[in-house]
C-alpha cells in the first residue's frame, strides 16, 4: 500500500511540536526548581537531611517508609510560583506526550504498519515510554515532580537527535520486518528502554545527592557544579528506591522483549539465538541489569557501587542503540539510515 504523504507530513509536524512542548515543560520544571528554593530547602535543610539520611543508612527496606514520611510531617511551605510552574510543567509534559503519541499514530496510519520500524521511530517510542514511566512514578512519588527537568533534558536531546540525525522518511517495512512480532518485540524493548532511562536519571541524581550528603556530613560546603545540585534533590533513599523500582519494573519487560525477539528470530532467521551483534549487546545489557539487581542486595555493593552498575547497564543499552545500529553491521540493520 502506498505511503500517505499528507499524514506523514502531519506526523512530522506533530513530532516537532512535541519537542517544543517538552522544551516548554523543561523550562517550567526549571522554574519550579528555581522558585522552589524556599520550600525545598526548608524541607530538606542539611540538619534534617542528616536525620533522615541517618535513619535511612542502616538498611534499605523498612526505614524507607519512615524517611519518606518524615519530610511530610512539617507541612511543606512551597512557594506559590513553584507550585504554579510545577503544574504548568506537568501539563506541558502531558500535552507534549499526547502530541507525540498522535505523531506516532499518524505515522502508523500513513505507512499502514506499526510506527517503530527504524531508529527515528524507535527513538520516539523510547522517549514517549520514558515520559509515561515518569508520569507513573509521579503518581507514586509526587514529591519528585521537579525532577522532571532532569528527565526531560535527555528526552528532548534524544528526540532532537531522532528528528535530525536519525530521521527516516515514512516508508514501508522490508519483508523481514513484516510480522506481528514487530508489535510485540520492538514494543516491549522500547518500553523497557524508556523505563531504564528514567532509572538512569534517578541513579545519576542519586550519585550527585550522595556526594552532596557525604560533603555536608563532613562539615564542608559543596561548591562544584553537579554536587551543588544535591541541596535540592530528594534524599538518596528516595532516589535509590526510584532507580530500583523502575529497574524492577523494566527488567521483566526487557527480558520478555528479548525472548519475544528470540521467538521471532526463530521464525525469521532459522535460529532463536545467533550472537548477532545486536543480540550480543542485548545479552550484555541484560546481564549488567541482573548484576545491578544482585548488587543492590549484596553487602558492600549497595548504594554507590550498585548505582554505578545501573549506569553501566544503561550505557550498554545506549551503545547497542547507537554504535551497533550505525557502525557495526549485522542482521538487525534496520536503522533506515543510508
Amino acid at each position: 500500500m502506498p505511503v500517505n504523504a499528507g499524514l506523514a507530513t502531519l506526523s512530522d509536524h506533530m513530532f516537532t511540536w512535541s519537542i517544543i512542548l517538552y522544551s516548554l515543560a523543561l523550562v517550567a520544571y526549571c522554574g519550579e526548581y528555581a522558585f522552589g528554593r524556599r520550600g525545598k530547602v526548608a524541607s530538606t535543610s542539611p540538619e534534617q537531611v542528616l536525620v533522615t539520611a541517618a535513619a535511612a543508612a542502616p538498611g534499605h527496606g523498612a526505614p524507607a517508609v519512615k524517611s519518606v514520611s518524615a519530610p511530610r510531617k512539617p507541612p511543606r511551605v512551597r512557594a506559590p510560583q513553584a507550585e504554579r510552574f510545577g503544574r504548568i510543567a506537568v501539563g506541558a509534559t502531558a500535552l507534549g506526550l499526547a502530541v507525540q503519541l498522535t505523531s506516532l499514530s499518524l505515522r502508523g496510519l500513513a505507512t499502514h504498519r506499526v510506527p517503530w520500524g527504524n531508529m527515528y521511530e524507535f527513538s520516539s517510542v523510547v522517549g514517549a515510554a520514558a515520559v509515561i514511566a515518569f508520569l507513573v512514578v509521579l503518581i507514586r512519588l509526587p514529591q519528585v515532580r521537579y525532577l522532571g527537568m532532569f528527565l526531560l533534558f535527555p528526552v528532548v536531546v534524544l528526540l532532537f537527535l531522532a528528528g535530525t540525525v536519525l530521521y527516516a522518511p515514512a516508508a514501508p517495512l522490508v519483508p523481514a520486518l513484516r510480522s506481528y512480532w514487530i508489535a510485540i518485540h520492538v514494543t516491549t524493548i522500547s518500553i523497557g528502554t524508556g523505563i531504564f532511562m528514567v532509572s538512569f536519571v534517578a541513579t545519576v541524581l542519586y550519585l550527585v545527592r550522595r556526594r552532596w550528603e557525604v560533603l555536608v556530613e563532613a562539615g564542608r560546603t559543596p561548591t562544584r557544579f553537579p554536587v551543588t545540585l544535591g541541596a535540592r534533590l530528594p534524599t538518596t533513599d528516595v532516589l535509590d528506591r526510584m532507580a530500583y523500582r523502575t529497574v524492577a519494573f523494566g527488567f521483566p519487560v526487557y527480558t520478555f522483549g528479548i525472548i519475544a525477539g528470540a521467538i521471532w528470530a526463530e521464525a525469521a532467521w532459522g535460529r532463536y539465538w545467533g550472537w548477532d551483534p545486536k543480540e550480543t549487546w542485548a545479552f550484555i545489557t541484560w546481564v549488567v541489569y541482573a548484576a545491578y539487581l544482585h548488587a543492590r542486595a549484596t553487602a558492600g555493593w549497595r548504594g554507590t557501587a550498585a548505582a554505578r552498575v545501573n549506569m553501566v547497564a544503561f550505557a550498554t543499552m545506549v551503545f547497542n542503540f547507537f554504535v551497533i545500529n550505525m557502525v557495526v553491521s549485522g542482521l538487525h540493520s534496520y536503522a533506515g539510515l543510508s
Binding site: P2, P58, G59, H60, G61, A62, P63, A64, V65, K66, S69, R140, P172, V174, P175, A176, R178, S179, W181, R241, Y244, R245, A248, F249, F251, P252, T255, F256, I259, I263, W264, E266, A267, A268, W269, G270, R271, Y272, W273, G274, W275, D276, P277, T280, W281, F283, I284, V287, V288, A290, A291, H294, A295, R296, A297, T298, W301, T316, I324, V328
Partner: protein, 559 residues
Amino acid sequence: MTADPETSVRTDPVDAEPDGLSTQPRPVRSWHGGPLAFARNSWRRLTSMRTALVLLFLLALASVPGSLLPQRPLNPTKVDQYITAHPGWSKILDAAGFFDVFAAPWFAATYLLLFISLIGCVVPRLRAHATAMLSSPPAVPRRLERLPSADSFSAAGAPADVAGGAVERLRGWKTVTRTEDGGVVTVAAEKGYLRETGNLIFHAALVVLLVGVAFGKLWGYQGTVLLTEGQPGICNAVPLYDSFRPGKLVNGSGLAPFCIDSLDKFSVDYDPDGTPAQFRADITYSLGQDGPERKDVLEVNHPLRAEGVRLYLVGHGFAPRFTVTKPDGTGVKDLSAPFLPQNPTTLLSEGAVKLLDTVKPQLALYGTFAPFAALGPDGKLTSLSPQPGNPAVAIQIYRGDLGVDGGAPQSVYSIDQRQVAIGALKQVATAQLLPGKSVTLDDGTKITFDGYSQWATLQVNHDPGQTLVLWAAGSVVLGLLLSLAVRRRRLFLRITPAPSPNSETVDNSAPVDDGARPDSEARSVVAVGGLARTDAGNFGMEFARVVERLRDPSPVRKD
C-alpha cells in the same frame, strides 16, 4: 549457618536486612583446618554473591569482543579479511579464540562457573525456603511501636476472641497465635512467600535454559540447499546438502525423514516503488521417501515445520536458461545454472553455465545476468531493479578444457582462470543477449538465451533443545515477575486485656471503638506492627488497609 540472614531477621525483625541473595556464611580466609576446610571455603567463596557478581561482569565483558570482532560462525569471509588486514596480532587473537568467542573455552569457563555458583547458591536457598514455608512466623517482637509501620486500637472482646477474629480477617496470611504471660495473646502473620518461590523458579529456569541450549548445540544440525524451479529436490541426508553444519553429536544417519521434492515456483511481490514486499517459495515436500506429496508456501517469517525440522527460505536469485545448437542441428536445451547476486538491491548476478560432456570440446558460458537490464556508462551490463522486467545476459564464451577432470574442486559460479592462463581454455566470443536472441560461434555452434528460471536457497534446521529453551524462557519471565513484584511482609499483633472495661484512660492514643459491645464488656488493646522484609514499596498503604480491616467489628463475611 550462623550468619544466615533468615535467622538474623527472625530474632530481630526490626533489622530489615534485605534478603541477602546468598545464604552462605562469609568464607574464612585461612589454610588452617586441612584440605577439607580449604575446599569448603573455596566452595563458599565460589557460591557467594560477590563471586556471582564478578562472574556476571566477566560474562558481559567476555561477550564484547564477540560483537566487535568478526566471528567465524557469522561471517568466515570477514574473519579472513580481518586476519589479512592485521597479520600481526590477529594470529594471537585467532589462537585465543577471539574469532569464535561464544565457543571459546574461556567464555565457556565463565558461564559454567557462573552456573555452578548459581546452583551452589540456589540449592541451600531451596532448602531454606522449604523450611520457611513449613515453619510458623516468628515470635512477636517486644516493642511493636518500633516497627516501620505501627498502630494500635481498642477492640471489644477478650484477647483470645479478638485474636481469633483477627486470624479470620487475615485471610491469605500465614498466622500463628501464641499466648504470653498475663493473658496476653499474640498473632504473628507472614505473607509473600511467592517472592522467594519466583526467585528460585527464575534461577532454576536459567539452568534448564542452559541445558536446552547445550542439547540443541550437540544434537542439532543445519543444512542448506539451493533449488532451481522445476528441478529435482533432495531428501534430508547429509551428502545431498550444499552445506551441512552438524552438532557435535550428530553422526549424520537417522536424520528426520523429510524430502523437499521440488521448488515449484518462486515469486516476489513488489511495492509500487519497486522494493520487494514479500518472497514466496511454493514447494512440494513429503515426509519420508514414500510419503504422500504435500504442498506448502514458504515465506519470510513463515517457515515450514514438520517432523521436528524447520524449512526456511533464506535466499533467492536467477538462473538464466540457454539452448546450445550444434552445426549438425542437434543440441542441448534448458541449460541453466544459478547465478549469484552481486548487488543485493538490483540482483545483478554472476555465474557460469558449463557443458562438460554434451559437447566436445567443453564449453562454458561465463558472465552476468541482469533482471532489469541497462547499459552502464562503461558499456557494461547493469541492472536497474530486482524485478525481471527486462532480463538480459552478458556472456563470455569459452571453449576448451574446463579442468574439472583434475579432481580439484572448483566454483560452480565461475570458470577456472588457471585453465585460461595455460591456454587450455580460450575465450571464443562475447555477447549481450536479450531473451530469444542468439550468438553463433566460429564453428557454427549457436547459443540462444531462452530466458530465466528462479532459484531459492532453502535451509533445513533441527534443534531438539528449542522447545525446552522456550519453556525455560517463559519460566524465567514468570519467576522474575513473582520475585520482583511480590513482597515478603510480616504483621504482628499483641492483644492485651484492657485493665477495666469502663476506664477511659486505657490508652489515649488508641481511639475507643463504640461499636457493638458484647455483653461481657471485656475489652482488649490491640497493638499492631508490620514490616516489609524486602523493598518496602507501598507497604504503608497495605498496612493501613489491613489495620482498617482488623478494626472492623462486624463479623467476617464467609464466602
